[in-house]
């Protein structure tokens, strides 16, 4: 029986889609059968980040409305045969789908897939309500800045009110040099405010920009962000993985010896 995980944040631009793409690809690398669903109807971009936009024929709204079968709309990933994408519609809006339909879709997919990842749109209205319907677990993504944390707090409150069974936190785009100078919140500061279980800390990494533009998620690669995302995937499947020591790697010695040091 598959697990439905929603990746949400409240604030836009903190890295939900990037996280969905990388976590999904990482789980596929760990030999799980994974499907990614883009629930951002109208402003879809999960397909772009995965590099699959030229393969789209049918989308989520087609499936919900019954225009096509799920099989027809799922797109197999370029690199991993056990990873699929269900893209969103660009010419419809978020009211084209309701939570009950999303629950039905998730239940149909549970039999076939180990993990169903829902990429949630920004905000707290219909798009959010659609994405969290039927989810077993929520991963809340935030960056260590005031406005993002405030929105994440609101989202966590809404998730609690909607009786989400498990809620975990990912702190994204952290810059240890700024944390050291006292110019940025540390992940501990964020955790103290949000008070939920931390499942991953991803450092700000320019490789992410490169990977997004090329449509190839970098999870599992040697870059810091790649390793951080892979650790998140391993924690999701139940392994106990210690957190990367990001502080030690930000000096020149870190760069020289970084590859040898495995935490």
């Amino acid at each position: 029986m598959g697990e439905v995980i929603v990746i949400t944040s409240g604030k836009g631009g903190v890295g939900k889609t990037t996280t969905t793409a990388n976590v999904g690809t990482g789980l596929a690398k760990l030999d799980k059968k994974v499907v990614l669903i883009d629930t951002d109807i109208g402003l879809r971009n999960l397909d772009v980040v995965m590099g699959l936009e030229n393969r789209i024929v049918y989308n989520l709204v087609d499936v919900i409305e019954g225009t096509c079968r799920i099989r027809n709309a799922l797109i197999k990933d370029k690199r991993y045969p056990n990873l699929y994408l269900l893209p969103s519609a660009q010419t419809r809006d978020k009211n084209s789908v309701n939570p009950e339909q999303m629950i039905k879709l998730a239940n149909e997919l549970r039999d076939e897939f180990d993990y169903i990842l829902m990429d949630c749109p920004a905000g707290i209205e219909q798009g959010f309500k659609n994405a969290i319907a039927g989810a077993d677990r929520a991963l809340v993504v935030t960056t260590p800045e005031v406005s993002a944390v405030r929105d994440a707090d609101r989202i966590i409150g809404l998730l609690e009110a909607n009786e989400m069974k498990q809620t975990q936190l990912i702190v994204n785009r952290i810059r240890m040099d700024m944390v050291k100078r006292g110019d940025m919140m540390s992940s501990d500061d964020v955790c103290e405010i949000l008070a939920i279980e931390l499942i991953g800390v991803v450092p700000d990494d320019e490789n992410i920009v490169i990977s997004t533009n090329q449509g190839e998620p970098l999870v599992g690669s040697d870059s810091l962000a790649g390793q951080a995302y892979m650790n998140i995937c391993r924690r999701i499947i139940g392994e106990e993985v210690p957190f990367l020591d990001l502080k030690e790697r930000s000096g020149i010695f870190g760069k020289l010896f970084g590859k040898r040091r495995r935490n």
């Binding site: 405030r150 929105d151 707090d153 609101r154 966590i156 409150g157 809404l158 609690e160 405010i193 008070a195």
Partner: protein, 221 residues
């Protein structure tokens, strides 16, 4: 003389005692007669009325009032209920409400109040948890936060100027006691030591001070 209807009264009101066993339609005729006879006695007095001896439905009471209006000039201003069940109910509601308004009682709330959440309480409240930025607590009484207070609080919401706010980590965005409002400084001051602080109203200003024995002594409930 038919004693199925007896009228008792004083300057302010009358009691109509009805025989519980008689047929209601017959009683109505007797009532009409009695009031017609005594209409000179009552003239156009303004009276309260109460019924005894027989349980009447609201419709039956109305019918009797109509008969009185037809057969005399007396003006019935109100009906006084003798129902003991209703009396018990009123007493219970009244006691409960008074207790809520009383300043010596309160309630607990456990949990983190997250951004966007808003809670309102009739009584004082002790919050076992944090009040995050963007959350709001309103109480007619006092507010005590066993955690960090970063949101907005409004104590003494019905004008109670003795209300106070206590927090283990006092950093509210806005604080309001009765009709006075205060906001946090624009440049946040990082306190080296986290200590329990109390906010109270004095001379139209809100003061926030560490909770000391002297201040506790000065608290008025």
């Amino acid at each position: 003389m038919n004693n199925s209807v007896i009228i008792k009264g004083n300057k302010y009101g009358i009691v109509v005692v009805l025989n519980p066993d008689d047929d209601f339609e017959e009683l109505k005729l007797v009532i009409a007669e009695k009031f017609k006879e005594s209409s000179k006695f009552f003239e156009n007095a303004k009276m309260a009325i109460s019924f005894e001896g027989r349980k009447l439905s609201t419709i039956e009471q109305k019918e009797i009032l109509d008969i009185i209006a037809e057969n005399s000039d007396m003006q019935v201003i109100c009906i006084v209920e003798n129902d003991s069940e209703k009396e018990e109910l009123f007493k219970k509601s009244l006691d409960q409400k008074l207790m809520e308004l009383s300043s010596t009682s309160g309630q607990f709330y456990k949990g983190i109040l997250r951004s966007g959440a808003s809670l309102e309480f009739e009584t004082s409240v002790v919050i076992i948890g944090d009040v995050n930025h963007g959350a709001r607590v309103v109480s007619k009484g006092n507010i005590i936060v066993l955690g960090s207070l970063k949101g907005t609080v409004f104590a003494g919401a019905c004008g109670n100027e003795n209300a106070f706010v206590v927090a283990l980590d006092m950093n509210p965005t806005q604080i309001r006691i009765a009709d006075t409002i205060a906001r946090s400084p624009d440049k946040p001051v990082k306190d080296a030591v986290k200590e329990t602080k109390i906010a109270f109203l004095e001379n139209g200003n809100i003061y926030i001070e560490p909770l000391s024995k002297d201040i506790i002594h000065d608290i008025n409930l």
